[in-house]
C-alpha cells in the first residue's frame, strides 16, 4: 500500500520534472529552432523512401553539372543525377549510420561504465585497460584504421564509429557512478538488502542518464562529420551510393566550373551536425540544473 503511494508520488514528481525540463528547452529559442530544422531534414530523408524528384542513380549525361534551376532545385552532378534526390537518399546512410553507431557506442560504453564503476576490482581494471587502449588513438585515426581493416561498407562503418565512440561513455558513466555510489542513500538501499542490479537500475542509472543524453547529442553531430569524412576519404560506402561525404569527394574535380556539386552536400552535413550540437547545448541546460544556475548567474 504505502509502497504504491510512494511510487505514484515518485512518478508524478518525475513527470513534473520532465515537464519543467521541456519548458527550459523550449525557452532556448536556438535549440528549439534547431529541433525543427533537424525534423525537417529527417522528413526529407523519410520521404525519400516513397518519393524522390528523380531517380538518384540514373545517369543523364546530357544534363550533367547543371546549376540549380526550377527543374533541379539543387542542380545536377557530374553524371547528370539530381543532387536533391541524391541528398535525400544519402541521408539514410549518413544520418542512419551515425544514429545506429552512436546508439550502439553509447549503449556498450555506458554498460561497461556502469559495471566498471559499480563492481570495481578486477572487472574495473580490465575494462579500464581496454578503454585506455582505445583512447590512446586519436578518434579519427582509430576510425580510419578500423575502416581499413574491416573494408568498406555500412556494417564496417557502424562498427568503426561505435568502437571509436564507446570509451568516452565508459569514462563518463564510471565517473558518475563512483560519485553516486558513496552517497548515503545508496548505503541505505544496500542495507535494505536489495540486489546490485536493482540498485544499479533504480538508483544509479537515473543519475547517469542526463550526462549520457547530452553526450549523445554532441556525438551525433560529431559522428555525422566522422562518417562523412570517411566517405570523403573513400573508406566509407562504395559508389554509386549517394553518401554525403563521398558526394563532396566526387564533386571536388569540378570545383572550378560547378562548385554547387560540392557546396550542397557539405551544407547538408553542416546543418545536420550544427542542429545536433545546438540541441545538445539546449539539452545540457535543460537537464543539468547546475549549469542552469551557472548560466543564470552570469
Amino acid at each position: 500500500m504505502e509502497d504504491d503511494l510512494i511510487l505514484k508520488k515518485a512518478s508524478e514528481a518525475r513527470r513534473k520534472q520532465l515537464a519543467s525540463m521541456w519548458r527550459v528547452f523550449k525557452s532556448n529559442r536556438v535549440a528549439y529552432t534547431s529541433l525543427y530544422v533537424l525534423v525537417g531534414i529527417l522528413l526529407l530523408v523519410v520521404v525519400s523512401f516513397v518519393y524522390t524528384p528523380y531517380n538518384p542513380y540514373e545517369f543523364n549525361l546530357g544534363r550533367a553539372r547543371q546549376p540549380p534551376s526550377p527543374q533541379h532545385l539543387l542542380g545536377t552532378d557530374e553524371l547528370g543525377r539530381d543532387i536533391l534526390s541524391r541528398l535525400m537518399v544519402g541521408g539514410r546512410y549518413t544520418i542512419g549510420i551515425s544514429f545506429i553507431s552512436v546508439l550502439l557506442g553509447s549503449l556498450i560504453g555506458s554498460i561497461l561504465g556502469l559495471v566498471s564503476g559499480f563492481f570495481g576490482g578486477h572487472v574495473d581494471t580490465v575494462i579500464q585497460r581496454v578503454v585506455d587502449v582505445a583512447l590512446a588513438f586519436p578518434t579519427t585515426l582509430l576510425a580510419i584504421a578500423l575502416m581499413v581493416s574491416l573494408g568498406p561498407g555500412v556494417l564496417s562503418l557502424i562498427m568503426a564509429i561505435s568502437i571509436s565512440t564507446f570509451p568516452v561513455y565508459t569514462r563518463l558513466v564510471r565517473g558518475v557512478v563512483l560519485q553516486v555510489i558513496n552517497e548515503d542513500y545508496i548505503a541505505a538501499v544496500k542495507l535494505l538488502g536489495r540486489s546490485s542490479w536493482y540498485i544499479i537500475f533504480k538508483h544509479v542509472l537515473p543519475n547517469v542518464i542526463s550526462p549520457i543524453i547530452v553526450q549523445t547529442s554532441y556525438y551525433l553531430g560529431f559522428s555525422i562529420l566522422l562518417a562523412s569524412a570517411l566517405g570523403f576519404l573513400g573508406l566509407g560506402i562504395p559508389p554509386p551510393t549517394p553518401e554525403w561525404g563521398s558526394m563532396v569527394s566526387t564533386g571536388r574535380v569540378y570545383l572550378f566550373s560547378s562548385p554547387h556539386i560540392v557546396v550542397f552536400p557539405g551544407l547538408f552535413i553542416t546543418v545536420t551536425a550544427l542542429s545536433f550540437n545546438l540541441i545538445g547545448d539546449g539539452l545540457r541546460d535543460a537537464l543539468d540544473p547546475k549549469s542552469r544556475m551557472f548560466l543564470r548567474r552570469f
Partner: protein, 313 residues
C-alpha cells in the same frame, strides 16, 4: 624530485596501454582483407613465390610468435620496410614528419591568437556582440566538416581570387590555406574552453575576495582570473597538438600537404600494410607521449594537483 617520480610512474602506467595498442594494431593488420604475401608478390606471382615471401615475413608461424617477434622488432626501433617504396618505414615517417609538425604548430598559433582574446572577452561581456561572434565561431568549428571548409577555401582563394596555391608545399604561401582549415576546427574548441574556464575563475571565492579588497578590474582579471583560467586552456592546447598529428589526416589529403597524414592515406591506397602499421603505431606513440607530457605539465602548473601528487607518490 616528486615530479620525476610522478613522470616515471606515469610512464610505467602507460606500458600496458602501449602493449594493448600494439596488440590492437597487430590484429587490425592481420584481419586486413587480402593476403599480404600475395599483395607484395603481385597478382601474377606463382604460388611458390608467394609461399617464399610468406616464410620470409614469418607469416606462416603461429600468431603469438609473430606478435612477440613484432614487439621485439619495434623495441629495436625497426618499423619494417615499406612495400611500395622499399625503404625503411621509419625513414618515410621522419621525412614527412617536419611538414606535419610545422602545419600543426602554425594552425595552433592561429587558433590561439583568435580564440584566447575572443574567449576571454566573451566571458567578461556575455550578451555582447563579441560573445555572439564567439559562439558562432565555436559552433562553426564544431559542426563543419574540415574537408568541406578546405574545398570552400580553395574555391574562394585559389579558384576565384587566385590569391593562394591550393596544393603542395613548395613555398611558405602553400601553408596558409591548410593551416587556416585546421585552425578553424581548433578555434571552436579553444574558445569554448577559454570562455568557460574564465567564467569559472570569475565565480571563484578568491576573485570575489580580490574584488572586495578593492583591486582594480584589470589587476583582478590579469592576476586572479587569467592565471587560474590558463590551466585548463594549456591542457587543451597540448592535447590539440597531439590530436593534430593524427587529425590533420583529412586536411593534409585535401591540400596534398606532404605530412604523415597524407602518407597514411597514400599507404592505404597502395595497400602497403607495413607502412600503414608503422604510421598508425607512430601516431599512437606520439599521442601517448604528448598525453604524458600534458599530465606532467598540468601537475606542475596547478599547485592543487601538485599537492595531491605529493601525497600519492
Amino acid at each position: 624530485m616528486t615530479l620525476v617520480r610522478y613522470l616515471v610512474r606515469r610512464v610505467w602506467h602507460s606500458i600496458p596501454t602501449l602493449i594493448g595498442a600494439l596488440l590492437f594494431i597487430f590484429i587490425l593488420v592481420r584481419v586486413l582483407p587480402g593476403d599480404p604475401a600475395r599483395l607484395i608478390a603481385g597478382p601474377e606471382a606463382l604460388e611458390e613465390d608467394v609461399q617464399r615471401i610468406r616464410e620470409q615475413l614469418g607469416l606462416d608461424r603461429p600468431l603469438h610468435v609473430q606478435f612477440i617477434d613484432y614487439v621485439s622488432t619495434i623495441l629495436r626501433g625497426d618499423f619494417g620496410r615499406s612495400i611500395k617504396f622499399g625503404t625503411p618505414v621509419i625513414n618515410e615517417i621522419l621525412f614527412r614528419l617536419p611538414y606535419t609538425i610545422v602545419l600543426a604548430l602554425v594552425a595552433e598559433v592561429i587558433a590561439v591568437a583568435v580564440a584566447l582574446p575572443l574567449g576571454i572577452l566573451s566571458a567578461l561581456r556575455p550578451n555582447s556582440k563579441v560573445s555572439y561572434i564567439t559562439s558562432i565561431i565555436s559552433l562553426v568549428g564544431a559542426s563543419t566538416p574540415s574537408f568541406w571548409i578546405a574545398l570552400i577555401l580553395i574555391y574562394v582563394f585559389s579558384v576565384s581570387l587566385k590569391l593562394l596555391p591550393s596544393s603542395g608545399a613548395e613555398s611558405p604561401r602553400h601553408i596558409v590555406l591548410p593551416a587556416i582549415t585546421l585552425s578553424l576546427v581548433l578555434m571552436g574548441n579553444l574558445t569554448r574552453i577559454t570562455r568557460s574556464s574564465v567564467i569559472e575563475a570569475l565565480s571563484s571565492n578568491h576573485v570575489l575576495t580580490a574584488v572586495a579588497k578593492g583591486l582594480k578590474d584589470r589587476v583582478v582579471i590579469m592576476r586572479h582570473v587569467l592565471k587560474n583560467a590558463l590551466i585548463p586552456i594549456v591542457t587543451i592546447m597540448g592535447l590539440q597538438v597531439g590530436n593534430l598529428l593524427g587529425g590533420a589526416i583529412i586536411t593534409e589529403t585535401v591540400f596534398a600537404w606532404p605530412g604523415i597524414g597524407s602518407l597514411l592515406i597514400d599507404a592505404i591506397f597502395f595497400r602497403d600494410y607495413i607502412l600503414i602499421q608503422g604510421i598508425i603505431l607512430f601516431m599512437v606513440l606520439v599521442f601517448i607521449v604528448i598525453n604524458i607530457v600534458v599530465d606532467v605539465v598540468y601537475a606542475y602548473i596547478d599547485p592543487r594537483i601538485r599537492d595531491i601528487l605529493w601525497r600519492m607518490t
